[in-house]
């Protein structure tokens, strides 16, 4: 199977879906002539045309609104935000227009739109450009939220998102764009709302998504080698809808759980996971579920402080020792 980068997997998904359906178009800052701030849209302007690959001014609220309007009349827009930090300017269109329209029109006007771009911290981009905001969007009924960790899932989920008749918030990662993985040629989709067991284990479940999948996998390798602890890594892939069944099944097997996420702790994705577990897997829990999150502060610019603020394998291992009573 060909090995491609996460960036190129997304590019394949866009290209294939635009080939497949003339209603699909891409719009955002620098997506055309510059071929994307992160080169996700490389070659697309040449392959299609400026009617389907549209460069916009720096006006997130405006082009997000145009996207929602286009979706209302039957097109399938893919709106690229250069990062999700900039998308804060467009939240009104995402939350108040895209997420509400189907409901407020009595089911008459679906909004088949994808909002996509990198989220979370990269390296030393400081407080305003280092934010994992998935729990903001996951809070809103009417939105689907996905955050793939691998090139395979990125391609499959983006294709599923474009074909979905609901607005989908699609969170990528600047630090993931160069990640490589096997991606089959041709058409396939990864269903929205289905988690994936990335590594099987028996002693503790590590629940993660997006960049923290790598953190959890590294922790799992060290746990096996250093402490003889077998960790199961469950990649949520979709935040909403949440695949509760896979999570609960895993915890019923392992009896212990640590949730690893890049967001802040308060009202985070992990808080929702813990809520599901305490209700649906109460009698299977041998320890309280712990969470490893970013520190509850604006992201520091200082390199060492930034490293300390983000989830890392050491903190995951410390949490696992706690839930497995190994301290």
């Amino acid at each position: 199977m060909p090995v491609v980068t996460y960036r190129d997997a997304l590019n394949q998904a866009l290209r294939e879906e635009m080939d497949r359906d003339p209603n699909v178009f891409l719009m955002g800052e620098e997506v055309g002539v510059y071929q994307g701030a992160y080169k996700v849209s490389r070659g697309l302007l040449e392959a299609f045309n400026e009617r389907r690959v549209i460069d916009t001014p720096i006006a997130e609220l405006g082009f997000a609104g145009i996207g929602v309007g286009a979706a209302m009349v039957g097109l399938r827009p893919v709106i690229e935000f250069m990062t999700w930090n900039f998308a804060l300017l467009a939240v009104d269109q995402v939350v108040n227009s895209a997420a509400k329209m189907l409901y407020m029109s009595g089911g008459q006007i679906p909004i088949p739109i994808v909002f996509r771009g990198p989220g979370g911290a990269a390296l030393q981009l400081a407080a305003q450009h280092s934010q994992a905001l998935e729990s903001w969007y996951a809070h809103v009924p009417g939105l689907k939220v996905v955050a793939p960790a691998t090139p395979y899932d990125a391609k499959g989920l983006l294709k599923a998102a474009i074909r979905d008749d609901n607005p989908v918030v699609f969170l990528e990662g600047e630090m993931l764009y160069n990640a490589k993985g096997e991606v089959p040629d041709g058409d396939y989709t990864v269903p929205i709302g289905v988690a994936d067991v990335k590594r099987e284990g028996s002693d503790v479940t590590l629940i993660c998504h997006s960049k923290t999948v790598t953190v959890a996998e590294r922790a799992a390798e060290r746990l096996a080698a250093e402490l003889d602890v077998s960790a199961e890594v469950v990649d949520l892939r979709s935040i909403r809808p949440l695949d509760t069944e896979t999570i609960v099944t895993s915890v019923q097997k392992t009896n212990r759980c640590v949730v690893v996420e890049e967001g802040w702790p308060f009202c985070g994705v992990g808080a929702q996971v813990v809520d599901e577990l305490q209700r649906r897997a109460f009698d299977s829990l041998d320890a309280p579920v712990l969470r490893v999150t970013s520190a509850d502060v604006p992201m520091p610019y200082n390199k060492k402080l930034e490293r300390a603020a983000k989830p890392n394998p050491d903190r995951v291992i410390a949490a696992v020792k706690q839930v497995a009573y190994l301290d």
Partner: protein, 408 residues
């Protein structure tokens, strides 16, 4: 580091303990696991073990003292360590420690695999609320195994009982984990069974008892007993031993009476563990003859005598008086004609044995004198219905009236 010697909960229901005698004196060097003192619990005399190593610096509850579970009875520390602050600590603030139920068994030979209900406790009553800290999983596992959480030592933060503690405390693994055949079968309650349970509880106490009495002709059993006891000088066989043997054999044919009432389900046992009521000073206790259905009359005789002796000397360990599946209580030696016994939960049945007396009875249209005995079975109506209990009691009676039927 100094270690407080606490009065531990050495039996599931123990609230206070009496220090019978210290085996170590102040100034003696002790190591973790060594026996410090003998403690009399509500059920038995148990050993109090050191939980740390060092010098037994101070004894705070001397021989004969009775103290609450969780109280400090002594202090183990290094020879030169300052223990002043510990002496001032308020003992009532100490969390009651959970004694390790398995500990007293450690010095005894490991249980044989053919005694699969060794770990089962007599009761599944809810643990004293709020006192025992345990993970939800540990609670579920303990309930599945019939283990009393209060008797399990917690290794988690603040003494929380976690999965591994229950696994260590359980003397045998789960029957399913053991592979082959399970020692019991849980049958979910049918609607009618739920309704019966609900209605009967409303009518009479927590356990809806009903009673069945039958009179048994003991002529043949008496002859058989006299003959067996004349054979050699093995352990003398009592009438009660013959009754135990017959009850055990009958229970193998009537599994519906060999059961526990648990919350939401009935557990039917494939093995018979007979609780035998033994009067002791100030009360009674029911040591359990494990796998009674597989034991010969002579084995039952030897074992019941040995258990009764140790019961009277209060030397039984908790595993020896818990986990029974059916009870037998005999007041015949007190010339009681018949009586009704109170069920020992979660068991569902009990047979109360009256005295054997010569009575005029009609046999083949003639009045003759026969040795007769009355058996009264107490049944938990949630588990055993009238006809179910009656059929079982009929089998017991037939076996006693024709002892060869026990073998067949």
């Amino acid at each position: 580091m100094a270690t407080k010697v606490l009065m531990e909960a050495l039996s599931p229901t123990m609230e206070e303990g009496k220090v019978l005698s210290w085996l170590k004196r102040e100034g003696d060097t002790v190591s973790s696991g060594e026996v410090l003192a003998e403690v009399e619990t509500d059920k038995a005399v148990m050993e109090l073990q050191a939980r740390g190593s060092g010098v037994l610096r101070k004894i705070l509850a001397g021989d004969g003292a009775t103290v609450e579970v969780g109280s400090i009875v002594g202090i183990i520390a290094a020879a030169d360590e300052d223990i002043g602050s510990l002496l001032q600590a308020d003992p009532s603030k100490q969390a009651p420690p959970q004694a390790e139920a398995a500990k007293p068994a450690a010095s005894r030979p490991p249980p044989k695999p053919e005694s699969p209900a060794m770990a089962a406790a007599a009761t599944t009553a809810p643990p004293s609320a709020g006192r025992v800290k345990a993970s939800p999983l540990a609670r579920r596992l303990a309930e599945d195994r019939g283990l009393e959480l209060a008797g399990v030592s917690g290794s988690g933060p603040g003494g929380r009982i976690v999965k591994r503690d229950v696994e260590r405390a359980a003397i045998r693994p789960l029957p399913v984990a053991a592979g082959t055949s399970s020692g019991y079968e849980d049958v979910e309650l049918s609607q009618i069974r739920k309704t019966i349970a609900k209605r009967l509880v409303q009518s009479l106490g927590p356990i809806p008892h009903f009673f069945l009495t039958t009179e048994v002709d003991m002529e043949r059993a008496a002859d058989a007993r006299a003959h067996l006891n004349g054979l050699d000088d093995g352990p003398r066989i009592s009438f009660n031993d013959i009754i135990l043997k017959a009850v055990a054999a009958a229970l193998t044919q009537h599994r519906d009476c060999n059961a526990w009432w648990l919350d939401g389900k009935i557990r039917y046992f494939n093995e018979v563990h007979l609780s035998v009521a033994v009067a002791v000073q100030d009360g009674l206790i029911t040591p359990v003859i494990r796998n009674a259905h597989m034991k010969s009359l002579r084995q039952i005789a030897a074992e019941s005598r040995e258990l009764a002796d140790r019961a009277r000397n209060r030397k039984l360990t908790p595993e020896e008086y818990t986990g029974g599946t059916f009870s037998v209580s005999n007041l015949g030696m007190f010339d009681i004609d018949q009586f009704t016994g109170v069920i020992n939960p979660p068991e569902a049945g009990l047979i109360a044995v009256g005295s054997i007396a010569e009575k005029p009875v009609v046999v083949d249209a003639d009045v003759t004198v026969r040795r007769r005995m009355r058996l009264t079975m107490s049944c938990d109506h949630r588990v055993i219905d009238g006809a179910t209990g009656a059929r079982f009691l009929q089998t017991v009676r037939r076996m006693l009236e024709n002892p060869l039927a026990i073998v067949w």
